[in-house]
Point group: C2
Chain length 231, copies 2
């Protein structure tokens, strides 16, 4: 198998994904649902952060749902469902990322116009999910204070392709001797001007800022794209 | 691009890797060097753990070296070199795992018979590196107390294909409300009987157990394979 042939195959897979993602994006815009794709390493705390996000939105009467990808198990969908929002589990059975085709398949006939927000929790992986557009309106890269401040430099594509960075587990910052300035500088280096939110989903710290950002981004997205107002 | 064709291409890549890994393994055995492949998510603390391991081995007069993979930057090779052991950085430029071909290329003409141990720190990724044999004698899957106890269930192939599990950052166990029994049960479920070592590379906790294990595994490997005694 020549290197050229492998590259061609990879380009073919990505082109097909882009076409499906394009169709999904049109469907999401027609339905007026703001879709957020959460990407990070395994163990950054995506699920706990999303469970809290869903719970806060549900409590505020915002209509929201989630899709969650994992290689195996439905642990995460079970955890997310505790928020009161509907959650569906996608098992990739060995694949290291979600693809647009899986999103289309698992959404099925879901009536998206009944939702304000749809969150997609990607497979924990700082590399491959960066290359797969899922039709989302906003991509959020999460980084925990336990992971090391230079992760954005070592995984630049993930942070480069994201719209917002969320630093998680901020309650552990002191115990981990987290160097906040170094983490911000690393993010700034790979994605100048990127918005950074710092949170502790466990303690609730920073969740208000995150909620404000979510609503502001959705409002701006609706204005820009003239997405229909909610029914 | 049909699904069948993609699967064929993937099988072709893996077959080529396996052949190269087989040749590497023969080279390592002929040289008497025990090769350890460290795999984990980004942020589990592989580099800090390996820096400490190399430093402890160097201090004990054991001949050791390291190869370290990252998408970008040579931060990790610089950190590892502080131990006094030689360390070479492999940049994969977007690839999410190390392959046997890269190992062969970066070893170059290195005189392996001057080494007792060679450590390979893989790219931080709990999925793809599981499929790529690097010719190692022992694969070690690391899991930090900050990541969530169910990671082995969610990434079973990585733990299934490893020989030893190392739980890292044990000094943060209390701050993270780490459930030790749940983590051990998850590892046991995907890989019954797997040896588990718990360490804090920062505090030095558990490093003696890890050193004992390294030497015991190398001795057993030499006996089994009749690897030549060190010069």
């Amino acid at each position: 198998m020549s290197q050229t042939r492998i590259v061609q195959v990879r380009a073919g897979i990505l082109k097909k994904n882009d076409e499906l993602a394009h169709a999904l994006r049109a469907r999401f815009e027609a339905a007026g649902v703001f879709v957020v794709n959460l990407v990070s390493s395994p163990g950054t705390g995506k699920t706990q952060f999303l469970e809290r996000t869903l719970g806060d939105l549900v409590a505020a009467g915002v209509r929201t749902a989630a899709l969650v990808g994992d290689l195996e198990t439905d642990h995460d969908a079970q955890r997310l469902a505790r928020s009161g929002a509907p959650a569906r589990q996608i098992n990739t059975h060995g694949r290291c990322h979600l693809e647009a085709e899986m999103i289309g398949e698992f959404l099925g006939e879901w009536e998206l116009s009944t939702l304000d927000f749809l969150f997609i929790e990607n497979v924990g992986n700082l590399v491959c999910p960066a290359s797969y557009d899922l039709g989302e309106a906003m991509r959020v890269a999460l980084l925990s204070v336990t992971e090391g401040e230079d992760k954005p430099l070592k995984y630049p594509t993930m942070f480069n392709s994201a719209d917002v960075a969320v630093i998680t587990k901020i309650d552990l910052a002191e115990a981990c001797e987290f160097d906040r300035a170094a983490a911000h500088a690393a993010i700034e280096e790979v994605r100048p001007g990127m918005t950074i939110v710092e949170v502790s989903a466990k303690r609730g710290t920073g969740m208000d800022d995150w909620m404000t950002l979510l609503h502001a981004r959705r409002a701006a997205w609706r204005r820009l794209r003239e997405v229909p107002a909610p029914a």
